[in-house]
């Protein structure tokens, strides 16, 4: 199907991108990988009046470690995150998650910044960002992950604000992300993340609500010496997922418990 017409401009710097977004106003959108945006545009569920193409901005795709922080540039493609020696070394869970986003073709185009800014409930990176207390850095400020994912597709980003990088803590301990889906290239029906760090666990859930969920009750139970099975029972505490085509609310809650237990048990 065919997108509605729009104006198009390429930005060669973040400043230029911000200026263009200002110029075009509320109805403009940033074009990075385009693999969330373009399908919506083809179905005319999104009809931006203008696209600001940031793919040409140099330096926005860098992946580097500085001290105990891993900086992932907004334009880092999933394939690059998946294959980065730095990420595999310093935050392996992120490399594994990247390797399971969509398929090869999608991974060549989709970006960290795009997934984070789009804030789809079924996105995997937001869960990792949330449980690791990542910082989302924009051209204006730095926002803590817990303050970033406000609601489905809703973030505090202003119309002329662009994500430039996401900063994660280094964490190379036992970890596991279980992405339960039907077909291999599908979005998660429910995802469960487990990362051991700083002597404790970080546990997160994907697609059990409008935003990623940090399962603090599970983390606390583990901290208090509970076995994985027992602790995982708390994964559904406070959850109120809506049902969709693939899962009833009850099933989602059930999966959150099962997958959390498995993630903890399988974390290496």
């Amino acid at each position: 199907m065919i997108p509605a017409a729009f104006e198009y401009a390429r930005a060669s710097s973040v400043d230029e991108a911000a200026k263009l977004l200002d110029q075009y106003g509320e109805d403009a959108k940033v074009l990075a990988g385009g693999h969330s945006l373009i399908p919506l545009m083809r179905l005319r569920l999104a009809q931006p009046k203008a696209l600001v193409d940031i793919n040409g901005i140099k330096g926005l795709d860098q992946i580097k470690v500085e001290g105990s922080k891993l900086h992932v540039g907004a334009l880092a493609r999933h394939v690059d995150i998946q294959n980065s020696e730095v990420v595999k070394d310093k935050l392996p869970i992120l490399a594994e998650v990247a390797g399971e986003v969509g398929d090869n073709q999608v991974r060549n185009m989709g970006t960290m910044g795009g997934v984070v800014a789009h804030a789809d409930a079924a996105g995997d990176y937001p869960t990792i960002a949330l449980i690791l207390d990542a910082e989302i850095v924009t051209n204006k400020r730095s926002i803590a992950a817990k303050d970033f994912f406000k609601d489905l597709f809703t973030t505090p980003l202003a119309a002329n604000e662009i994500v430039t990088e996401v900063v994660f803590p280094v964490a190379d301990g036992p970890h596991k992300y279980i992405k339960f889906r039907r077909r291999l290239f599908d979005w998660a029906i429910v995802g469960a993340a487990a990362q051991k760090m700083n002597g404790g666990w970080r546990i997160g859930l994907t697609n059990v609500g409008p935003t990623p969920v940090r399962a603090k009750a599970v983390e606390d139970a583990l901290q208090n010496g509970a076995k994985p099975e027992e602790a995982a029972q708390h994964a559904s505490d406070g959850l109120n997922p809506s049902g969709d085509l693939r899962a009833s609310p009850e099933y989602k809650k059930h999966l959150s418990r099962v997958l959390t237990r498995r993630a903890i048990e399988q974390a290496t």
Partner: protein, 169 residues
Amino acid sequence: MKHKVATTVNGRRHEHEVEPRLLLVHYLRDVVGLTGTHIGCDTSQCGACTILVDGKAVKSCTMFAVQAEGRNLTTIEGMAKDGQLHPLQQAFWDEHGLQCGYCTPGFIMAAAYLLSLNPNPTDDEIRKGLEGNLCRCTGYVNIIKSVKSAAAAMGGAPARAGEKSVAGR
């Protein structure tokens, strides 16, 4: 307002003025005139439109032509060299890896990318490498055989006979 876009497609340079919203797949089919790349869906699942952009597999229905500015594009029409079929094309033919043939260009391009990263994939690695492509005719069995056979012909180790292939993740 139209934008200039200059691309190299299968080694040949093209310059056109296009609407920004023109999808890359439509650019290839209707403007450049290469109809081997096909469209099979609206939401980027089926992969029939897969081409290589600077050597990387991309679904050309999920890119605008203007994004391909200055890039090197390879389509199915660019796979054969000097009248000789590419080993992947030959392998799909030899192994009956196609029936209606509509999804085939997309599979061949996706497989070309897969083999460029992993010249000697197992059956399961082939399945994963082709997860972004749908086929309705073959049940995938002979597609996997075809890619295996092409890998062997292209210099990977000989296709491993009797390899157990169980789907799963």
